[in-house]
């Protein structure tokens, strides 16, 4: 079983290897928050495994003083699945990116989410291929000019959290590199969840896609573009908390709280457990536009959480059941089989 350790520091989770991300990269902040959350939670580093695919973010395991594997492109969910079945008590953190997790590894992402292994999955979304030097990614906005799309990309971007809802994920949350406090809270929520916790983290690639998420982090726009979810609280945003989201049947609308027509009590109350509401929330996915009065702000926080049996627990149950029904395997009986005959 997992144990906790007192008085840990973030640096207890740092390796002696030089961190090699570009200076200013959003990955640094995420690394720091992960290390400090692990220390705060008193995780035993011998019981932690950090597993990644390929990409800038996937260098993460080399910087974590835990067990770790930097596997191959897109396949971390599969490695994680086998590792978790081999050792269900390990505390596994999977690191992936928009290219790794949603392009080459999209298939595996779908399946780990529906199977619901108890792992924390951090999806570093920077809407670009960084390691290969700047091609558009599956989350890049349409018309993106990159080296591989000199006339603009024509692919429509994927909506990762809607995709995750479609895959029947049991935990979906969003945070960003530039909001350490929120990020830490979300990391803790992910860790607390029993099942696959998908945490999408908006991460700035200052070299190839600088400012992709500034609309959500910049002081001037942030309050109108980002919506911070709190369980049981109304959906309120705006510089003076003067805007709210109202649910008219299943149709969300933005209303002003300035005049007396609507009060906070009329608004949509956030309920992480409500799958239908969560589906709608993941659809708040428009290009940020603070000036549009009907622009749906991008939700941050835990969008959906439900409790459902983990894959590894059910897998173990079946083995135990088989042993109860048939007794522990008898190798001689297996080899001998049903009917035998003697010669000589």
């Amino acid at each position: 079983m997992t144990t906790t350790i007192a008085n840990l520091k973030a640096k207890d989770f740092a390796t002696d290897q030089d961190v090699r991300w570009c200076p200013g990269c959003g990955d640094y902040s995420i690394l720091k928050q992960v290390q400090s959350v692990m220390a705060e939670l008193g995780l035993n580093k011998d019981e932690v495994a950090v597993i990644s695919g390929i990409g800038c973010s996937s260098r993460f395991p080399y910087y974590m003083e835990t067990y770790g594997m930097h596997s191959i492109h897109g396949r971390a969910p599969a490695v994680v699945s086998g590792l978790k079945l081999a050792n269900p008590d390990l505390n596994i953190w999977m690191i992936t990116g928009d290219g790794d997790g949603l392009s080459i590894g999209g298939n595996h992402m779908l399946h780990i989410l529906r199977r619901n292994f108890n792992v924390n999955m951090l999806l570093f979304n920077n809407q670009i291929y960084g390691l290969t030097k700047g091609q558009y990614s599956p989350t890049s906005e349409v018309h993106k000019n990159t080296k591989s799309t000199p006339m603009g990309s024509i692919d429509y971007p994927v909506n990762p959290l809607s995709f995750a809802m479609g895959a029947n994920a049991s935990f979906i949350a969003r945070s960003m590199d530039r909001d350490p406090k929120h990020l830490k809270e979300m990391l803790k929520r992910s860790q607390a969840h029993q099942g696959t916790a998908l945490l999408e983290i908006y991460q700035n690639c200052n070299i190839f896609n600088d400012g992709a998420f500034f609309a959500f982090t910049d002081k001037a726009t942030k309050s109108d573009t980002a919506l911070f979810l709190q369980q049981g609280e109304p959906l309120v945003f705006g510089a003076e908390n003067d805007k709210g989201v109202l649910l008219d049947g299943y149709k969300p609308t933005i209303v002003s709280l300035k005049d007396a027509q609507f009060s906070k009590d009329d608004l949509w109350m956030h309920d992480e457990q409500d799958m239908f509401k969560a589906q709608i929330l993941t659809r708040f996915f428009d290009e940020p536009n603070a000036d549009d009065p009907q622009y749906f702000p991008r939700p941050f926080g835990v969008i959906y959480q439900t409790n459902r049996a983990t894959y590894e627990a059910q897998h173990k149950d079946q083995i135990e059941q088989a042993v109860t029904q048939k007794g522990s395997g008898d190798l001689n009986a297996l080899i001998r089989g049903g009917s035998v005959w003697e010669i000589g």
């Binding site: 191959i72 599969a78 699945s81 086998g82 395997g329 035998v340 005959w341």
Partner: protein, 617 residues
């Protein structure tokens, strides 16, 4: 009158719905109990639900048994049992001259004849097209229904029992007891006594039909074969493989993890393992071939015996991940139940054309051990050894089998579990932390090697061994990422040498039959074992100077292989490919070889190989 025969080959053929596989298997079990040696091979239709009565829907089961050593299921059969016109048409070409045809008359009505694409008005069992054969027409359907008219069973259920009539008849023809089939039926239908009675009644009716009908004047008897003393069972290649894997798991104390994606003909390994959960076997049906191998790698990293299985196209997909396991230096067993290629090729047909892919099919310098099963029963030890090499040398191992081995069956003098050697596992030991929480002693070096260049297996969760591994090139000993040119060369050579050193642990290659030196050596690998043995035995009996040897270890080769080859004037290599082992032998030993290659999706036939070798004498 009972006539004694030395060997017989029978082909049971009918529509997929006619129960020919069951008939064949029950006859096989019955044959085994008589002490005859035998080899079987089922021949499934490529389409799952081909329309009833058509050529595409024909399913067959071939058994070759005798009072002498039997090496193959036989090229041609002495007896063809055809339940309908399509079954006759599809199988007649491999019936021996003057062979016996036993047909179900009702399977030759106008509808069946049309579906089998016989010309209008042409009925092979009515015109004299079968006059060169001994033809027996039995109204099986009619007699079965007659027998069951008071059974209370519906027409469909009655119809389904007709294979029991045929089985009963064949059991009579070969002077057998009905006991094994009776026991089977009683067990199978324990909860449905009416079905036991009905099937037994039909079985007996078929048996007595032979006895009382004057048409059949002769029955036959095949005496037991001079097999080695001991206790035997019948086993398919698929079962043997799975039991070998489970044995390795039990003998190493490592839980078996099997990640796989459904693919013909490897899916049976997944089915068979999934039924053995009480051995602690963990099966994982992954979303694709890549996930299957990656999950097995994850499981190996976590300290399980990670295994993945597939067939050719799947092996192609697993290439990158196998390279990862190779550079990580984790144990992993990759089963490739080969089938006809390239691409989707011929999924239900056999071929041994993945040897070079197993050898070279990965990016970069990534040698892996390769081991091949040679017969259904042999798959047991091959599987056990593949696991042993993987565990003890910290490397992925590729095990090659094929559809012919996996689906074939033969008697097996099975071992006693207690006599099978334990597999020792070299885990890295935990490091205790001192009072201050710091680790004692030196830092853990995940890529430090022993004299065989093998690193230790450090399992996540072990106190004090935290380390990072990955697909990037590693620094010698520390395993830290390194782009240093000298280090890369050193690591490349070290990994290759580690695999080469496995040869030190392999038994020397021996001559299977014939003299240790001479004119011709027939060198084979994989499922050609049976046919090579049969042919070389015949040639030796005829007084020719021929020997044979069969390779289980294809990489590295046994250390004495070159020396052994040098004792012969000519090396003949028969393969079901265009010359893949031949390529390896030529490249490694700069040696001339004579190739005999067939790529017809079928086992090599005895007569073809016999003629070829004779011409080379």
């Amino acid at each position: 009158m009972i006539e004694t025969k030395q060997e017989v080959t029978i082909k049971f053929a009918g529509d997929s719905g006619d129960g020919m596989q069951l008939t064949g298997n029950l006859f096989t079990d019955n044959t085994a109990l008589t002490g005859s040696d035998l080899a079987t091979f089922p021949d499934f239709p490529a389409e799952i639900r081909a329309p009833a009565g058509t050529l595409a829907g024909v399913s067959g089961f071939q058994i070759h048994f005798g009072s002498k050593k039997i090496f193959t299921p036989g090229d041609q059969y002495d007896v063809l049992v055809a339940m309908n016109a399509a079954a006759l048409k599809a199988n007649l070409n491999n019936l021996k001259d003057r062979g016996t045809v036993i047909v179900n008359e009702e399977g030759f009505d106008s509808k069946n004849l049309r579906l089998a694409k016989y010309e209008d008005g042409e009925n092979p069992i009515e015109n004299d097209s079968l006059s060169d054969y001994e033809l027996f027409k039995i109204p099986v359907t009619k007699l079965t229904k007659e027998c069951l008219k008071d059974s209370g069973l519906g027409t469909k259920e009655q119809d389904r029992s007709k294979n029991m009539f045929v089985l009963g008849f064949i059991l009579w023809r070969y002077s057998r007891s009905l006991d094994s089939v009776t026991t089977y039926l009683q067990k199978k239908f324990a909860k449905k006594p009416t079905l036991i009675d009905a099937n037994l009644k039909v079985l007996k009716a078929g048996y007595h039909y032979g006895d009382t009908t004057e048409t059949f004047t002769t029955s036959y008897e095949i005496k037991s074969a001079p097999l080695e003393k001991g206790t035997y069972r019948n086993i398919t290649g698929g079962q043997a493989l799975v039991y070998g894997l489970i044995t390795a798991s039990q003998k190493s104390g490592l839980p078996l993890f099997y990640g796989s994606y459904p693919i013909t003909p490897a899916s049976d390994v997944l089915h068979l393992l999934a039924a053995q959960k009480h051995f602690g076997v963990k099966t994982f049906q992954a979303e694709d071939e890549i996930a299957a191998v990656c999950a097995a790698i994850g499981a190996s990293y976590g300290g399980n015996l990670g295994i993945t299985g597939t067939s050719g196209p799947g092996l192609a997909l697993k290439g990158e991940a196998m390279g990862l396991a190779m550079i990580l230096e984790l144990p992993l067993v990759i089963l490739n139940i080969q089938r006809g290629g390239p691409s989707t090729g011929m999924p239900t047909k056999t071929e041994q054309a993945d040897l070079l892919m197993a050898m070279y099919g990965r990016n970069g310098e990534s040698p892996l051990p390769i081991i091949a099963a040679q017969s259904p029963a042999d798959a047991f030890m091959t599987a056990y050894e593949a696991c042993k090499i993987a565990i003890q040398h910290m490397t992925p191992v590729i095990l090659l089998s094929d559809g012919y081995i996996a689906n074939g069956a033969e008697p097996w003098k099975f071992p006693n579990a207690a006599d099978i050697e334990k597999i020792t596992v070299n885990f890295a030991a935990a490091k205790k932390a001192n009072e201050n929480g710091a680790q004692n002693g030196e830092a853990f070096l995940p890529y430090k090697r022993d004299e065989n260049l093998v690193r230790k297996w450090a399992i996540p969760g072990t106190p004090g061994l935290g380390h990072r591994i990955g697909g990037l090139e590693k620094e010698y000993d520390t395993g830290n990422v390194s782009y240093d040119p000298d280090n890369h060369e050193l690591m490349t050579k070290t990994r290759a040498e580690k695999i080469a050193k496995i040869a030190n642990f392999l038994p020397e290659q021996k001559i299977d039959i014939g003299n240790e030196k001479g004119k011709i050596l027939v060198l084979g690998w994989g499922s050609t074992f049976g046919v090579i043995n049969a042919v070389v035995n015949t040639l030796i009996e005829e007084g020719h100077e021929v020997s044979s040897t069969h390779l289980r270890y294809l990489n590295p080769f046994p250390k004495n292989l070159e020396q052994l080859l040098n004792q012969f004037d000519k090396i003949i290599i028969p393969e079901i490919n265009t010359g893949q082992l031949a390529t390896l032998i030529k490249a490694q030993f700069l040696k001339e070889v004579v190739q005999f290659n067939k790529v017809r999706g079928l086992p090599i036939s005895k007569i073809d190989l016999y003629q070829f070798i004779k011409e080379q004498l």
